[in-house]
């Protein structure tokens, strides 16, 4: 398969210049590689997305997808994974979605080591609703909800995930789709909760690419030991330079293996017809 086989007929409505296009391309390439390497069939891939500009990615990739409530990509992901462990789960979320509305779900998914990938489109602003502060908005940044500039200390998503027990913690940059593709591939192959915070600009409300670009470097090219928690924490603290790449990666028993062993619940209990299933709720 080629990445083009994952194109959907849906009309793309992201802004001209939106960094989501770089992420979309990286994802399609990873999916094609997964299928070509025999790691997953197309029907075994499930993507989920929350509410925000990123959320439309569910419409733009031709695989099974689930469009979730605001901040709630993780609970349905958990349900899907528990029902059928064979499925590859990739969830997309925004910084508002994952770190404001849905932060508790993200914390517990990391703690439990649910075998899924969470990609956070982190543009430091609520963009779909035309610019309000999110938990990752930098101090002093002016938005419609903070006309004098945000005075809140921003959240460090990597520190959050490291402290919650995530077994794969990475940061990508939408301005480097090829690098993003390589860490996304590693994340999807990782057995356990893999997390990627993707720094991206919002071309309309937070154009940060030119400011960030000179500071960005690949920490995996500088001899970083991905199994060293303290080193990962130190790298994630850097602000003068902005490291991207894999910060931390270790193996730990996954949630679903501990819960189910090798059982595949979806095969034990055949799926009823949609009509019959819905009748229970009518």
């Amino acid at each position: 398969m080629e990445m083009r086989d994952f194109d959907s007929p849906a009309k793309n409505t992201w802004c001209p210049g939106c960094n989501n296009f770089g992420i979309l391309a990286a994802v399609k390439q990873v999916l094609a590689e997964l299928v070509n390497s025999g790691e997953a069939r197309p029907e075994e891939i499930v993507i989920l997305s929350g509410v925000g500009c990123h959320g439309k990615i569910s419409d733009y990739i031709r695989v099974n997808s689930f469009y979730c409530l605001h901040g709630r990509t993780v609970p349905p992901a958990m349900g899907i994974k528990v029902a059928n462990q064979r499925l590859k789960i990739i969830a997309f979320s925004g910084d508002g979605d994952a770190y404001a509305e849905g932060i508790s779900h993200v914390v517990h998914a990391a703690r439990r080591n649910l075998n899924m990938t969470l990609v956070v489109h982190d543009n430091e602003v609520f963009a779909l609703t035309t610019s309000q502060v999110t938990p990752t908005t930098k101090r002093g940044f002016r938005t419609k909800s903070a006309p004098k500039g945000s005075f809140e200390a921003p959240l460090n998503p990597l520190h959050l995930m490291l402290s919650c027990g995530a077994t794969f913690v990475a940061r990508g940059f939408s301005g480097d789709p090829r690098h993003l593709r390589s860490i996304l591939m590693e994340a999807v192959r990782h057995r356990g909760f893999s997390f990627i915070d993707v720094i991206q600009e919002c071309v309309t409300f937070n154009p940060i690419k030119e400011k960030y670009l000179p500071k960005i470097y690949d920490l995996n090219k500088e001899g970083h030991d991905v199994t060293n928690f303290s080193a990962a924490w130190e790298r994630a603290s850097e602000v003068e330079r902005i490291p991207i790449g894999i910060f931390y990666r270790v193996e730990r028993e996954t949630y679903e293996k501990q819960l189910l062993g090798e059982r595949i619940l979806a095969e034990e209990k055949p799926i009823p017809s949609i009509k019959k299933a819905l009748q229970e709720f009518i």
Binding site: M3, R4, D7, K11, N12, W14, P16, G17, C18, F21, G22, L24, A25, Q29, Y60, G175, P177, R178
Partner: protein, 103 residues
């Protein structure tokens, strides 16, 4: 040196290729001109990186082989420029700034 944003005013159409216009001067193999109008790729700047083709959500570009050009032997051809949705992913990601999308 990025693609000239005013090439439509400054250059002349000298032919067509794969359904799109070619803007001169064209003196192969050293000088290949600009391919396309609404999606324009300056083949004298294009280094054949192909990131445009990778990030394009609607598959506008084909990579084509050329011989004897000083910059590269592979060029990005806007073969389906009418499919362009003006997302600017190619223009934004092009390492040599060889692409110009008509806004």
């Amino acid at each position: 040196m990025p693609i000239d944003p005013d090439f439509r005013a400054k250059r002349k159409k000298v032919g067509t290729h794969s359904g799109h216009d070619v803007w001169g001067p064209v003196n192969p193999p050293k000088e290949l001109g600009i391919h396309g109008t609404s999606v324009a790729v300056d083949w004298d700047i294009c280094n054949g990186d192909a990131i445009c083709s990778e990030v394009c959500p609607v598959n506008v570009f084909d990579m084509v082989e050329v011989q004897g050009h000083p910059t590269s032997n592979r060029k990005s051809d806007p073969a389906r420029e009418s499919d362009c949705i003006k997302c600017l992913a190619c223009e934004t990601n092009c390492p040599t700034k060889a692409i110009r999308i008509e806004k």
